[in-house]
Each structure stands twice: as C-alpha cells, then as structure tokens.
C-alpha cells in the first residue's frame, strides 16, 4: 500500500523491518530524523534491538563493528563529517568482512561548513571496500536497505554496504512510498547466520596483523569480494523484483537511451530532474538520454560500456570533486569507455546544496554537444576574474 511520509521515516521503518539486533549511531543533520525514529521504536518495544548511544561517530561504527563480529545484524546511519570521523573504522569493517549496513544521508564536507547536500562524503570512502548504492527517490531509499542486507550478508560477499540518498532532497521530502509488510521483508531477508563470530565459549581471533608476505593477498581477496558482489546484487535485485514488482537486478538504469545522442550519467535524486528535462528535450527533438548509476561500488563498468558505446557525447554530472583531478563518476566512466573514442565530459554540479533545475540539465546537454565540459557548472563570475 502506498503511504505518504517523510523520507527519513520511510527509511527508519524499512530498517525496523530488517530487524537489526544492534543499532549504534550519533545524530547529525540531516540524518537525525532516522536515528530519532529508530530510538523511539526501540524505546516503545516496536523494534527488539540494542540501541547503543555513543559519544561520537567513531564510537558508533566501532560499536557496530564489534557487534557484527559477535554475530549480530547491525545498523548505523551518518553523513558528512560524521562519516569522515568513521574513516578508520570503515576500512576495518570492510577488511574484517563484516556485513554492516549504514545509511548515508549525503551531505557536503567542510570546510567551509555546509549542512546541505552533495555526494562528497560517501564518494570519499569509495576505496574502503564498502558496497555503495545510490537511491533516486524514497521508494528506492527504502527498498535498497532490504537489498543491501541480503547482499552484504551473503556468504559469497560478506562486506559492509552504504545505502546513499541525498540529504534534505530525499531525507526531508514527503512523498508516497510503498512500504513492504513485516511478513514480506521476513520472506525476502532471512535471519543473519554469521559464518564466524566472536564467542567467548569458542574463542577465535579476527583482525590480527598481516606481514608483507600476506597483506597483498588479503587486499586481493577483499577486492575479489567487492567485484564478485555484482553477481549477488543482480540475483538479490532480481528476486526483489519477482517478489515485489520493483526490479533492482541491474546496477544501472537506462532512461530513453535507445536512440540517444547525448547521454547524461548521474547518481541519486538529480536523476529525477534529469528525466523530466530529457522528456522536454525529446519534445524539442533533442535526443538526450540518461544512464543512472545505482551501484557505484562495485562499479558496473560493463553495463556502462554497453549503454554508452553508441552515443556521440557523454555528460557526467558529478556531485563531488576529487580535488586536483575530476569528479569520481567521470573518472570511472572514462575508464569504462577507454579506447571506445566516446568523449566523456565532466560537470561538477550541485555542490553544497546548490539547486539544479531542468534548465541546468538542458544547458549541460548544450555544452556537451558543443564539446565544452570538464568544468564546474554555474560558477559565479567573480571567481573567474
């Protein structure tokens, strides 16, 4: 049944139905409504979980790491500076192969301080070994949590996962969402059965050091697991579609790409605005299309190559910047298209909450058609003087 509610509350409800046994989180704007709602559910006995209040995000993810190592299904949520504070623990969680699921309510990183949306925070953790999913709307923001737990806990994967959705633009928006029932979630997401767990009755050690003779092999295996998770994502996404009608088998979504001349590539909520802009451009006879990246880690290079091989230009909208280089999505897309001759132009856009309207999408397409790109879109004149 469709219900209308705030994105944060829809996500909190989805998380409740995933039945996490331990939640540790530290409130930070714009993530706060999620963890407030979950704390209330635990207090009201609507969710049977241990809710650990902590003094920082570092402690939040450390508690999650420990609880996951002890064999629990765990959850956290954060954003921006909070995620930055988790940096060390993020790498450890992935290295220890612990299937923690964490919502990232995407927000810009300081300095200067910004509470508004872009995707710099999760992108900055792209090398950490966490799977990364990006939602276009609140329906996906909820659904991807079920999928993320399924994939993360799969014995072929055993890796943590971020479910990323845009701060304010999705988290604080009221819109209709079709919520699953507890019975449906239970059928889709079985109880977590850890392969190994810390147990005082049967002690094991995890997370010891690796000498130069072995460290590389550990990294190789983690990399293999991240890459191999693509197959599991396809299976879990397809099964979700079979059970509930919304298919997440593909790590990308193609929108009006069949005969597209210029392809926009983007992640997250900006894709909704792009779709509306593309419909208007199509009416004007301009053949624009969209390739939306839903899974950024593992990166779906094969699907990207397939979808973009026939187009005459690719305009990547990056809500992040690898300072001194380019946007992270453009770098991946260029790598995927290496040798194809398809020009890939990068547009750094919507940083720190700057709004993107349909006209902005259209002007990016115009610029790409004219071969103008690899720039910050919409810069104020004064910084160019």
């Amino acid at each position: 049944m469709m219900e209308i509610m705030e994105g944060s509350h829809a996500v909190a409800n989805a998380v409740r139905m995933c039945r996490p046994q331990v939640i540790a989180a530290y409130p930070i704007t714009p993530q706060t409504h999620i963890v407030e709602a979950l704390a209330e559910m635990v207090a009201d006995c609507r969710l049977d979980a241990e809710y650990i209040t902590v003094e920082s995000e570092f402690s939040a993810l450390s508690a999650c790491l420990g609880a996951s190592a002890a064999g629990s299904r765990v959850y956290s949520a954060t954003t921006s500076q909070g995620l930055a504070l988790m940096f060390e623990v993020c790498f450890n969680t992935a290295g220890l192969r612990l299937p923690v699921v964490m919502s990232i309510v995407n927000r810009a990183l300081g300095a200067p301080l910004s509470i508004w949306n872009d995707q710099q925070d999760s992108i900055a953790l792209r090398d950490s070994g966490w799977l990364q999913f990006y939602a276009e709307d609140n329906q996906e923001a909820t659904d991807l949590h079920y999928v993320a737990y399924r994939v993360a806990e799969d014995r072929r994967v055993l890796l943590p996962a971020f479910v990323c959705f845009d701060g304010y633009i999705l988290s604080h928006t009221y819109e209709p969402v079709e919520m699953l029932t507890e019975e449906q979630v239970d059928r889709y997401l079985p109880k977590y059965r850890p392969v190994h767990r810390l147990d005082s009755a049967d002690p094991i050690s995890i997370g010891l050091f690796a000498s130069p003779d072995y460290y590389t092999e550990f990294r190789y295996q983690i990399d293999q697991a991240v890459k191999g998770s693509m197959q599991v994502i396809r299976e879990a996404g397809r099964q979700f579609g079979e059970m509930f009608g919304r298919d997440y088998a593909s790590p990308v979504e193609e929108y009006r790409m069949d005969d597209a001349d210029c392809a926009i590539v983007a992640m997250g909520s900006i894709c909704g605005t792009a779709k509306d802009a593309i419909d208007e451009m199509r009416k004007e006879g301009r053949k624009a299309g969209l390739l939306r990246i839903r899974t950024f880690r593992p990166f779906p290079a094969e699907e990207v190559r397939k979808a973009l091989s026939g187009v005459s230009s690719v305009a990547v909208l990056d809500k992040n910047i690898s300072l001194g280089s380019k946007g992270a999505v453009a770098l991946e897309v260029r790598d995927a298209l290496y040798g194809s001759g398809v020009p890939v132009l990068d547009y750094i856009i919507a940083l720190g909450g700057r709004d993107v309207a349909k006209k902005d999408i259209k002007s990016v397409v115009d610029m790409a058609a004219a071969g103008k790109g690899d720039l910050f879109y919409g810069l104020r004149e004064e910084v160019l003087r």
Binding site: M2, I4, E6, P30, I115, W116, E136, D137, Y168, I169, H172, T173, Y174, E175, P176, S269, I270, G272, T273, K275, D276, G353, D355, V356, A357, K358
Partner: protein, 183 residues
C-alpha cells in the same frame, strides 16, 4: 497539457511553513493525486524568511528542484513582502494567498488572483497563538480546490492530538468558509 501544479509557501521560521507543506501534501495524496512536500532549508532561526514547497501531479513526481514557477503562493507574513519577492515566477492565472489585515499595497503581477485574509486574527481566536499555518491551509483548500477540507482535517488530526487538533481544525474551517464567501 501540463498536469504538474506547484505551491510555494513563504513564511518566517517558527510559523510552521514546513508543517503546512507536509500536511497539504498528505491531504492531497489522500485525495488520490501524487504529491511531494519539501523545505528549502536555510538558516533555521526563528523569524528568518523560510520557504517550503508542494507539488501535485496525476503521475509520479520525479522533479526535485525548488519551485520557481508556482501556480499557488501562500504568504504567511505580509512583512516578508518588503524583504522577499514573494511573487517571483508566479504563473499566469496563479493564486496568491496573503495573510494580512490590511489591503495589499504591493504591486501584483497581472493575471494573478490575490486573496487576502486576516489569518492572524483567525489563528488567535481559535488557537490563542498567532501561528497561522493551519488557518492558511484551510484558505488554500478553498481557493485552489487542490485539497478537500475533510482530507485536510484528517491530516491535521494526524499531526496534532486532542484539543490542539480540534483548535487547528476549527481555524482551518473558519478560513475555508471565509475564502469560499469571497471566491
């Protein structure tokens, strides 16, 4: 044929503009259309100018930008008019509801219907506080036809409880009747 309709609410921090947007979206969805409500988050101080937005459509709403060409505008506080161009981008044939006890002196764009209402007095009478959001929701229901008064009352009762809910419903009803008279 454009099926998308958009509302922009201008208010000051503390006047409940975000709540108004949310409850209007809830009432619209109950009436069988797709709706979307979201705030323009800025400096969240009491008294600072704030905006909130609602979209209505017969199909799923994908657009995520702020509202630049509204069909409807609600101005919760007429003192905003000297600080903010509240009429910016309003569509031809648009409806603007302004909370004021005096006739509007600001220049109104041609083709726009302005409805003035002393929402502060209605709110004070019903709620004993000058918080006008629920009053203006009633006025919006009457002026726009986008939401049904019954659905609005249900949305208000879903957010507030007990006496507080009934007082807000009474304020919305009074404004609804007042606007229906002049419309």
């Amino acid at each position: 044929m454009i099926s998308l309709r958009e509302l922009r609410i201008h208010g000051r921090g503390g006047q409940g503009s975000v709540t108004a947007a949310e409850l209007i979206a809830v009432a619209a969805f109950a009436g069988g259309v797709y709706s979307q409500a979201f705030p323009a988050f800025g400096v969240e101080r009491r008294g600072a100018p704030v905006q909130a937005f609602v979209r209505f459509d017969d199909k799923k709403i994908r657009l995520r930008s702020q509202v630049y060409d509204p069909d409807y505008i609600i101005v919760q506080d007429s003192t905003l008019i000297s600080d903010v161009n509240v009429f910016q981008g309003v569509r031809d044939g648009g409806i603007v509801i302004v909370n004021t006890e005096k006739p509007l002196r600001a220049p109104v764009p041609p083709g726009v219907k302005v409805i003035t209402l002393d929402a502060t007095s209605i709110a004070l009478k019903n709620l004993s506080v000058p918080i006008t959001n629920t009053t203006l929701m009633g006025a919006f229901a009457a002026a726009s036809g986008e939401i049904d008064l019954g659905a609005l009352e249900k949305a208000i009762r879903g957010r507030f409880t007990g006496e507080m809910a009934e007082k807000n419903v009474a304020a919305a009803r009074e404004a609804y009747a007042r606007v229906k008279e002049v419309a």
